[in-house]
Amino acid sequence: MPSAPSTDLSDDDIAQRFRAAGIVVPADRAAGTAAAARRLLGVLHWLRAPRSVAAEPAAILVLGERVPR
């Protein structure tokens, strides 16, 4: 079982990500929003393990069912 999510990004790094997205976080929600972002960023490393061949292609566009039968 993995440890609790964590990220190496600093508070400033996270704030910069919000600014880059055009999000101006209300001051009284800044701490909670940053904490939620930190939790989310903390799980990203799980997504970047080596993929098996079976995982490719990602198959996000499927047209087969649209062919008239």
Binding site: V25, P26, A35, V43, W46, L47, I60
Partner: protein
């Protein structure tokens, strides 16, 4: 037949039999429900809107149909309610948010179309976490629903009002939605049944989305049979929902009562046993559930699925990326119209990159293949926890932390598998504990069959929350 017990405890199946035998009217069932809502809702806050006139009209129409020999199906004359993200024509649909406080859709959602066509009686709209994600918030237009087993505890979410209403006997069936466990979580914490059908089985058209590729619609009910009967009515292909599957809906209720002989059930004990949120009560109840399924004739053995951390990462990234995309404009232009919890959680999606989302989608395929091609190839179904503990008290939720641990539901939003939340016992605090039965895609019949056999043998559903509800502190 004679009616045994109070009317509000009659199942859909029993109420249906009584309606067809002329032993009770839909109007009588409706008045009992409305009275119970009036008595209990001030403490439970399950309903955010009741519709007594509409309900009486629906009931009178159902009674007239019975009198003319018209039978539109198992929900004819049965009162029900909808989570307040289900769009209803001419009826306020708020998503429990100030943003949509005065929103009145012009069309019914697909599920409501089917329930109305099936002769159901709409009692009202039910509370939710804001936009089906926030948390048990006190800064919204309506207070959060409270757990009927103990008013000082939350219900789980986000189908919070749906679970509270069913557990309190206000209604036999309430529709919920499930993006990461929002049907099964509150069902487990309130001691009800909750069915997340296969992705694509029930149309989401007209239901406010949380995350398009993870959202499911399904019922919460007191019994497995009632979930099966409801699925029969609300399932089916809808070309206007791009995820809807054009696959025939079997008679799931017909599979109930067949017993478990010949079924192989995988118990995912290693999946949860080292989870830091696991309580001894949950371990005992889950092990006992596995033993009971074996006693009932199933072959039960331990089976492995990928680590929960992988599912959780995949589910969270996809959910928050999609939710952020849906809410981006309002988050930027009207941030204070959101409650604190929903804002903080949805806005967090802004920090994700496009590459994060693509990686999550790649992992999703891998995880789905691992479950469907692995554990669910060798087994007919899986037994796995819904929650690893009982419901937390409201006092556990600080201003910046709406997330709670110990829910193991989102793996099956990732895979899209049908999953049935079942009550399996009670903790030492007297609150319910739950497990889920997970099946192969579009095999709700087997999932419900297993759930029904367990339910009949375990007797957990014979226990109801106390009628004299204690005062909240």
């Amino acid at each position: 037949m004679s009616l045994a017990g109070p009317l509000h405890e009659l199942s859909i199946a029993d109420a249906g039999r009584a309606l067809r035998a002329g032993e009770v009217t839909s109007l009588a069932l409706t008045e009992v429900a409305l009275d119970r809502i009036a008595a209990l809702n001030p403490a439970l806050h399950a309903f955010v809107l009741t519709l007594p006139e509409r309900a009486r009209e629906d009931a009178a129409r159902a009674d007239a149909a019975f009198a003319r020999g018209i039978d539109a199906g198992p929900l004819q004359g049965i009162p029900y309610a909808l989570k307040d993200i289900y769009g209803t024509a001419g009826i306020r649909t708020t998503c429990h948010s100030s943003l949509l406080h005065d929103h009145v859709p012009t069309a019914d959602c697909a599920v409501e179309e089917k329930l109305a066509a099936g002769g159901g009686v709409l009692l009202g709209k039910l509370g939710t976490f804001e936009f089906a994600i926030g948390g048990p918030s006190f800064d919204l237009p309506f207070p959060p629903a409270r757990n009927p087993w103990n008013l000082n505890h939350f219900t789980g979410g986000s189908s919070s009002g749906s679970a509270a209403a069913v557990a309190a006997g206000m209604v036999r069936m309430a529709m919920g939605s499930d993006t990461g466990g929002s049907i099964r979580g509150p069902a487990a914490l309130c001691g009800t049944v909750g069915l997340k059908p296969t992705y694509g089985r029930v149309s989401r058209r007209g239901v406010f989305p949380l995350a398009y590729s993870l959202d499911h619609c399904g019922p919460l009910s007191w019994s497995v049979e009632d979930a099966a009967l409801t699925l029969q009515v609300v399932a089916g292909h809808d070309p206007l929902d791009p995820a809807s599957a054009d696959i025939a809906v079997p008679d799931c209720a017909a599979a109930l009562g067949q017993g478990l002989e010949g079924l192989r059930i995988g118990y995912t004990r290693r999946f949860y046993i080292d989870n830091p949120f696991l309580t001894p009560d949950a371990t005992r109840a889950l092990d006992a559930a596995a033993e009971r399924l074996a006693d009932l004739g199933a072959v039960v053995d331990e089976v492995d699925i990928p680590d929960f951390a992988l599912f959780d990462a995949c589910a969270q990234v996809i959910m928050f990326a999609e939710a952020y995309a849906i809410h981006e404009t309002d988050l930027k232009t009207r941030p204070m119209a959101y409650g604190r919890y929903a804002y903080q959680r949805i806005a967090s999606g802004a920090v994700l990159s496009a590459a994060d989302l693509v990686q999550a989608q790649r992992l999703r395929r891998e995880l789905t293949d691992a479950v469907h091609g692995g554990a669910l190839r060798s087994h007919d179904a899986l037994l796995t926890p819904t929650s690893l503990s009982t419901a937390a008290p409201f006092s556990d939720f600080g201003p910046d932390a709406a997330r709670w641990g110990g829910m193991l539901t989102n793996p099956f939003n990732v895979t899209g598998s049908p999953a049935l939340a079942l009550p399996i016992g009670f903790g030492t605090d007297g609150l319910p504990l739950g497990a889920q039965i997970v099946g192969r895609p579009f095999d709700e019949a087997t999932v419900l069959r297993i759930g029904s056999a367990f339910e009949a043998a375990a007797g957990v559903s014979g226990h109801r929350p106390p009628l004299a509800l204690p005062a909240a502190s």
